[in-house]
Symmetry: C2
DNA sequence: CTTTCATTTCAAGCTATCTTGAAATAAACT
DNA sequence: AGTTTATTTCAAGATAGCTTGAAATGAAAG
């Protein structure tokens, strides 16, 4: 991931509505949600939801596909992973302190409670 | 890390000048750099550099301390790590696909070349 | 106590982003 | 063809963020 795309991705995440959309889409993964469902989930008008979903799709953090009358948005975990990799590698030069702070490098289990930090 | 702080942090990273400052500060870690040095490193006027450094400091991604006439900025790796943790845990619910995409969960060595991805 | 150096603060103008509601598109159904 | 449902696009106004250069602060040195 290059700098311009990373900046666009960070910009996408720097908004409450979009962050909440993303969280809803994580819960709904890998199936995704219709634009209307996302709109309801975050309490935004259809037009406003469309605006923010378009931004998330532009940056590649989510994908969009039409299914009959509905448009289904789904999170792209690979893109999210690439963004994390950008922070870790490009920004922080793989500095151990950064990796340590997010509970990595000490075991493989993704969600072991209490083991992070 | 809570949502508002994460949003502010993403906002900080969503800017070329600040991203480059951060990279310079990673290289200069853990000592840090004077505001003037950062200013030169990214090719920004003192006033512009001060504006962006203040933003980075506000969000806690960098720290500032006065040393005689100079002000020394240093990256806060813990804060960077907390932001990565926010993406991984709060945003992505520790989804394995995200962790996999950044070369984690397959070995502990932080910077082993060729082993990531 | 004035000068010098490093940095910040301020005010102005500019650009980008967000919100709102109305109108347009797209697909299915009658 | 006309209607309904789902979503996007558009235009307008509001808010936030960026850049610039000048003025102000803070700290050391003569």
């Amino acid at each position: 991931m290059q700098e311009p795309r990373a900046i666009a991705a960070f910009s996408s995440l720097a908004n409450q509505t979009r962050l909440r959309m993303l969280k809803a889409l994580v819960v709904a993964a890998p199936d995704g949600m219709t634009a209307g469902a996302v709109s309801e989930a975050v309490g935004a008008s259809p037009s406003r939801a469309s605006f923010h979903l378009a931004k998330l799709a532009d940056t590649g953090l989510v994908s969009a596909r039409r299914q009959a009358r509905e448009i289904i948005y789904a999170i792209d975990f690979a893109a999210m992973g690439a963004l994390v990799a950008f922070i870790l590698q490009d920004c922080c030069s793989n500095h151990a302190a950064v990796r340590a702070c997010c509970g990595l490098d000490e075991g493989q289990s993704p969600a072991k409670p209490g083991s992070q930090r």
